[in-house]
């Protein structure tokens, strides 16, 4: 018993990830935490997307289930779980059954290496970024399997489209990633790293986020990645695989109920995954903003208050809306619910002010805030852009992004080489 306790405690003082420290207990705890956080994020994302999109489109969005529709995702989840699971008679049973799980597995596995903080990752792989790209590319297989197994025209075309699209944009994406990885090698030893934590630490050591590195090269690489990642996740304006006006619902036309919801889950967690790659590679991962401009312990103090303040701000919004609720007995439960939600947010905010908590959670907060920014972009794109046509999409991937990616890669290498010659002749 004591030995187990000691095993559990031994990690707490460590400055490594549980995977790197070889501590199975904490690795398991982290896996559970990431899984839980991801599920909550997907649920929140579902609600936020509907609300933000609705407000962009001069409507209210879900308002009925819970205050301001807060419980809508849960109601939807229950509905989807209770729905009949239909399998077409002519479908290839096994593959039809396995496909959604493949997609979900691919989307969730990448989070093994996502660094939420210097110690807040399940493990730190030597080939972290390669692993992420590789595993996220496996979701294509699930999509192709789903489309083919449905044994129907529209899903098949949707699957072909999305596989062609994802394979094409992976190339441009890979080139952009390589140019960022190249930047990690600008240190005394001259060797870079593929490890996700190492990449962020390289940005910390160089005192510069890679998006600003070799301006505008880092920015262009980031832009290429930002475009490719939208295409990679099959979201608007690149949502051809599920373009409802053309292919009804694309590769998941024949899916229903629980298995359809798995595709939904996978889509959103894939969005979070690629956003976290972008954040890690170019936006400094868990580092707080303005590390150079606003440096010093005072500013550190100020920035450590931000997480708590953010939650208090959300709580304040909740209370403001509670006050605006109609004063009618019919709305009593909803008003109380909203106030309760505000109280919970406020309590979380207050807890985050405790220095011990704040210092441990700050990294996660900054990382999540940056990812949340990307999530907002995704919603914004969806509200603003029409959909690309397939040949235009391909032309953009191969004729615009790929040459740009190659150019940026070569230029980055040239500039890095010049710099190293000038600094260490």
């Amino acid at each position: 018993m004591g030995a187990i306790l000691q095993y559990v405690q031994s990690y707490l003082s460590s400055d490594k990830t549980p995977g790197a420290a070889g501590n199975m207990f904490w690795a398991f705890v982290y896996i559970m935490l990431v899984f839980l956080g991801l599920s909550v994020a997907v649920i929140a994302m579902n609600w936020l997307e509907r609300k933000i999109l609705a407000h962009m489109q001069v409507r209210l969005g879900p308002m009925r289930v819970g205050p301001h529709g807060l419980l809508q995702p849960i109601a939807d989840a229950i509905k989807l779980l209770l729905k009949e699971d239909i399998m077409p008679a002519e479908a290839d049973g096994l593959i039809f059954w396995v496909a959604p799980f493949v997609v979900v597995l691919a989307a969730f596995t990448v989070f093994v290496v996502v660094p939420f903080g210097p110690t807040h990752a399940i493990t730190d792989m030597n080939i972290g970024i390669l692993f992420m790209l590789g595993v996220s590319s496996l979701s294509v297989l699930g999509i192709v399997m789903a489309g083919w197994a449905s044994n129907s025209h529209y899903p098949l075309i949707g699957a072909l489209r999305s596989s062609a699209q994802m394979v094409s944009y992976e190339v441009a994406m890979g080139l952009a990633v390589v140019s960022a990885v190249l930047m990690t090698s600008l240190n005394a030893t001259g060797t870079g790293t593929l490890s996700m934590i190492g990449i962020v630490q390289a940005q910390l050591a160089q005192g510069e986020w890679f998006i600003f590195k070799f301006f505008p090269l880092g920015l262009i690489a980031f832009f290429i990645f930002a475009v490719a990642m939208v295409a990679e996740t099959n979201r608007a304006p690149f949502d051809l695989a599920e373009a409802e006006s053309e292919l009804t619902a694309g590769f998941h036309t024949e899916y229903s109920g629980f298995r359809w919801s798995l595709f939904f889950l996978a889509e959103y967690s894939a969005m979070i995954a690629v956003s976290s790659i972008a954040v890690t590679l170019w936006l400094g991962g868990w580092l707080r903003p303005f590390p150079n401009l606003l440096s010093g312990s005072t500013w550190n103090e100020v920035f450590s208050l931000v997480p708590g303040a953010t939650f208090l701000f959300f709580a304040a919004i909740c209370f403001y809306n509670t006050a605006r609720m109609p004063k009618h007995p019919y709305f009593r439960v909803q008003t109380i619910g909203l106030a309760g939600f505000g109280v919970v947010l406020g309590l979380i905010g207050l807890v985050l002010f405790v220095p011990a908590v704040s210092s441990r959670v700050q990294d996660i907060f900054w990382f999540s805030a940056k990812v949340a920014g990307f999530m907002y972009l995704y919603i914004w794109y969806r509200g603003t852009f029409p959909r690309y046509r397939f040949d235009q999409l391909m032309r953009m991937g191969w004729k615009v992004l790929l040459p740009m990616g190659l150019g940026v890669l070569v230029l980055t290498a040239v500039v890095a080489l010049l710099q190293s010659y000038l600094w260490h002749p």
């Binding site: 420290a21 080939i127 692993f131 590319s137 294509v140 192709v144 399997m145 083919w148």
Partner: protein, 169 residues
């Protein structure tokens, strides 16, 4: 954490690979074959990890499972397979083929039973941490020429594939 070459994982992965391999060559439907091959490839990537070769494992996943196999699936879906499923699956020389393969297997067994002694008892120590960096140094140093030739090969392959698959150029 250094990968532990535990017997359990080795036998598990080896089992998966062999079952997958058998499925590849026995399934009627090429899509099933391709999926079995993907499982085999992923298991092999895990075996690479056990062999202290993380970079090769990553390349295996990203290139083989994510690239080549998607290409295979793509082509299988383009060509209609309805007819080939209904046809005979094995060619007429299958007996000869099996005998040749068995002979080759016998050869392998002979070589391995005779040559076991040349393998060292314990593998030499290997550091995993800078595996990628070392491979990069070798690729761009000692194997530079081979690397360039490989890139040329890929270019030729791309052009060849386009020329052959395109209806009108």
């Amino acid at each position: 954490m250094a990968p532990v070459a535990t017997p359990f994982f080795f036998y598990l992965l080896a089992g998966i690979m062999l079952i997958g391999g058998v499925m590849v060559i026995t399934r009627k439907n090429p899509v099933h074959s391709a999926l079995a091959l993907i499982v085999t490839l992923l298991a092999q990537a895990s075996i690479y990890l056990m062999l202290y070769a993380p970079f090769v494992a990553g390349v295996q996943i990203i290139l083989y499972a994510g690239g080549i196999m998607v290409l295979f699936l793509f082509v299988i879906m383009l060509v209609s397979i309805d007819r080939s499923i209904r046809e005979r699956q094995f060619n007429s020389q299958w007996v000869v083929g099996l005998i040749a393969a068995t002979a080759l297997g016998g050869l392998f067994i002979a070589v391995y039973t005779k040559g076991t002694s040349i393998f060292p008892e314990h593998a030499l120590p290997m550091i995993e941490n800078d595996n990628t960096q070392k491979i990069a140094t070798m690729l761009y140093g000692q194997y530079m020429f081979a690397f360039e030739i490989a890139s040329l090969l890929l270019l030729v392959a791309i052009i060849g594939a386009v020329v052959m698959a395109k209806k009108r150029i």
